[in-house]
């Protein structure tokens, strides 16, 4: 199933608002934001579709970081 439009739009918009930090910091800010505010099914759907093609590269990088965060089992994104 392709990634839902709303998730693509929301994720890219978050990335656009962290862009000023530079790509690497922006990606980790986006990852932290998703961890803190997105429900797990939404995050899972995003992570399963990082190759969707419509995602901003910062979101793709954030997805990778988020995956690491999730596997570390931490809930305490700041």
């Amino acid at each position: 199933m392709p990634l839902r439009n709303d998730l693509v739009q929301m994720a890219n918009q978050i990335a656009a608002n962290f862009l000023h930090h530079g790509p690497e910091v922006a990606a980790s800010e986006v990852a932290a934001h998703l961890k803190r505010f997105w429900a797990p099914p939404m995050r899972a759907e995003l992570l399963a579709n990082l190759d969707d093609g419509r995602l901003d590269p910062i979101v793709v990088r954030a997805g990778e970081l988020l995956r690491e965060l999730e596997s570390a089992g931490s809930n305490s994104a700041s």
Binding site: L7, Q9, H20, R36, A39, P41, N75
Partner: protein, 931 residues
Amino acid sequence: MPLVKERDLGTRAVSGSPSVELEIDGMAVAVPEGTSVMRAAALAGIGVPKLCATDSLAAFGSCRLCLVEIEGVRGTPASCTTPVAPGMKVSTQTPRLERLRRNVMELYISDHPLDCLTCAANGDCELQDMAGAVGLREVRYGQAGQSHLGEVKDTTNPYFAFDPAKCIVCSRCVRACEETQGTFALTITGRGFGSRVAPGPAGNFFDSECVSCGACVQACPTDALEEKSVIDMGVPDRSVLTTCAYCGVGCSFRAELRGDEVVRMVPSKSGQANEGHSCVKGRFAWGYATHRERVVKPMIREAITDPWREVSWEEAIGYAGSRLREIQATYGVASIGGITSSRCTNEEVFVVQKMVRAAFGNNNVDTCARVCHSPTGFGLSQTFGTSAGTQDFASVAEADVIMVVGANPSEAHPVFASRMKRRLREGARLVVVDPRRIDLVRAPHIEASHHLQLQPGSNVALINAMAHVVVTEGLVDRDFVSERCEMDDFAVWEKFISTDINSPEATEPITGVPAGEVRAAARLYAGAPNAAIYYGLGVTEHSQGSTMVMGLANLAMATGNIGRVGVGVNPLRGQNNVQGSCDMGSFPHEFSGYRHVSDDTVRHVFEELWGRTLDPEPGLRIPNMFDAAIEGTFRALFVQGEDIAQSDPNVNHVKAALESLELCIVQDLFLNETASFAHVFLPGTSFLEKDGTFTNAERRINRVRPVMAPRNGKQEWQVVCELSSAMGYPMQYDNASRIMDEIAATTPTFAGVSFRKLDELGSLQWPCNEAAPLGTPTMHVGTFVRGKGRFLETPFVPTEERASRRYPLILTTGRILTQYNVGAQTRRTGNVAWHPEDVLEIHPHDAEDRGISDGDWVTVTSRVGQTELRCRLSPRVPVGVVYTTFHHPVSGANVVTTEHSDWATNCPEYKVTAVEVRALRAPASALHRGA
């Protein structure tokens, strides 16, 4: 409770210590300097007769009834206009004074109808009382001569009547309209015997500038200005102190009743939010509570195409509970959720979020504040450390510069607007940031120094430009910043904001505001001893709503305008309990008191008390719920008192989502739009039946007391507890105060709050705990809640919703004074007289380009939908911008608003929708609208 009449001490209170000692009728009295003799006497328990004086207004000295004798002073001065002096010896009752007063009263009465027994104000009339007080026994002048007795009543206002025959021309109404309300609708015309009260040149109240606030009716000592409900029903005989359920001002009222029927709502002088003032909604528009369309019996139906079937509470709750569990068994624990309402009490909201977290077993709870002030929560907690306005309302009286951003207080927060206008008339300067020329830009005796009429969607560019001026012109309060804020973050922000890209000149093409104006406004704000920001949904309901809130916070910190009276950053909350519903843990990622669900310590507090393991992950937000419903993963929704099918953006999408649900439970007063998609309808209670608390925009927790028994037979929180119990998670409270006890026990900022304390003190502003047992009027004094204030970079990211060749105009939305939100309440009251339909405001140039004339029907088309509205040509909106309200479902303003939302919180971007407007020669729907 018997009828409580608030004492009238005759003239206004003066602050200060009681340093002036004097003697009145042989009694020693001490009062603050500047107090009138009349007030000093009243404080000593001595009532001096009076007619033109009342303690909400400045003394006027016209009726000459309050004369006193003062040792060593010639004549008989009026006690209302004579200030106390040390050592003064005053007599209020002497044969000479008695004679003089009787003469004055005799003149008044000779031109007044003598039908007290049949007068609506009988028993509630100061003229009658004073005639008694001065011992008037006869009137020597007959009523045969010239008089006002035959004059015609003005009954044009839906709620009150003006009977000139009963007017004593004391001018209290005129002064109330000026001083209390700030509208200046009334004047006294003519002179001497020919003088009379006139509602402006219009000649009647309805067509005048009057906004029906009721201040004049309240001030009138006779039956001349009287509530029609009193005329119809008689003078009330008992009263209950409670809180208005309309807007975030949270005015206190005495509900005055006869038996079980409300006769009138009278604003309470003891109410700390409103200090005796009110607006047309709280004062008069309460009739919806007993409207015949109210549903008071539970109902269920299998499918939304079936007719409703009235059932017992047991059946409705049993059905809802078992269906919720069945759906979870099929689709998973996370397939259901709930929405709390900002119209409900803190206690009602708290139990709904508890039901979701503990009984549903997930965090899929959100609140309608999602669609209005969620960016406030995000922005202020990131910068200051907590999600709330920084001041109390009274603080505005100390502000020297007031900046109103994306808010229209005269319409949406009228009682606060009156306070603000008072301060502006005293000389405070005003900056208005709004695409539309709102009332405040030029009101009687008020003129904004700067109206920054920006393009919708360019807020962040504008606030950055203002901050750029502050930083680059050396206007930063360096002492404040270095002492109170994180310096590393400040350094990063300072560098960012100083870049040319943020200068007023560089942002002018984006905002449309001349750079010189921005510079001047920034200098005015930064240079003021006290500068205060008040903002509304014009800040939050944007794709960068959260960023804009942070931008406002940055500006306030950079200029040192935080942490004392007269300054601050203040969200003007829309609905009555937006603040409270957010405080109560209605967001999917936060428990009460804004603590993240992933915080183990916090979660364990609730787990221990509630006896359930709680989900440490955030749940779905409202728009996420809709998207997941359409996707098929979210199957059941409990909606508490909110009409999401009308109030949320892109309603076609919302309706599709609701239609796809297997179960929708609506708890409300009326069968609203959302109820068309419901399977279970649980009748709710009106504010006149509720028992609990509301928290207003200044964090003030006010008691809502039941004025009458619930017409549906149950408090709403009881229904929720029963539903939770039916799902196998028993919830039980003896009364609403027990729920507040649980809130206090689990929420540090509420630790000191209880119904008992609220009853004792009237109200409390949170944080209220051991450190602040009497609450906190001003926040961030000395230190920020988060310790040091945090500057955050706020780069401007334009919204994706842009005007184009096909959709060249930008639609923005707002509110109107007489209507409230989706109008479910106000449309069922006399208020429709002022706003029978939503209209589209369009600039005359844009109208001319399209061949549209004033009053024409037009279509408004956006990328997602189309609706029809009647239009009004108005230079209040700039060229390229159109504006409407969303109070009537039939106009469907939200059919056209899109799903674009704030990047951080998903708060919808109501304020920016690209549209085209076209003349509609034959309005299809006008037929069924009876237009």
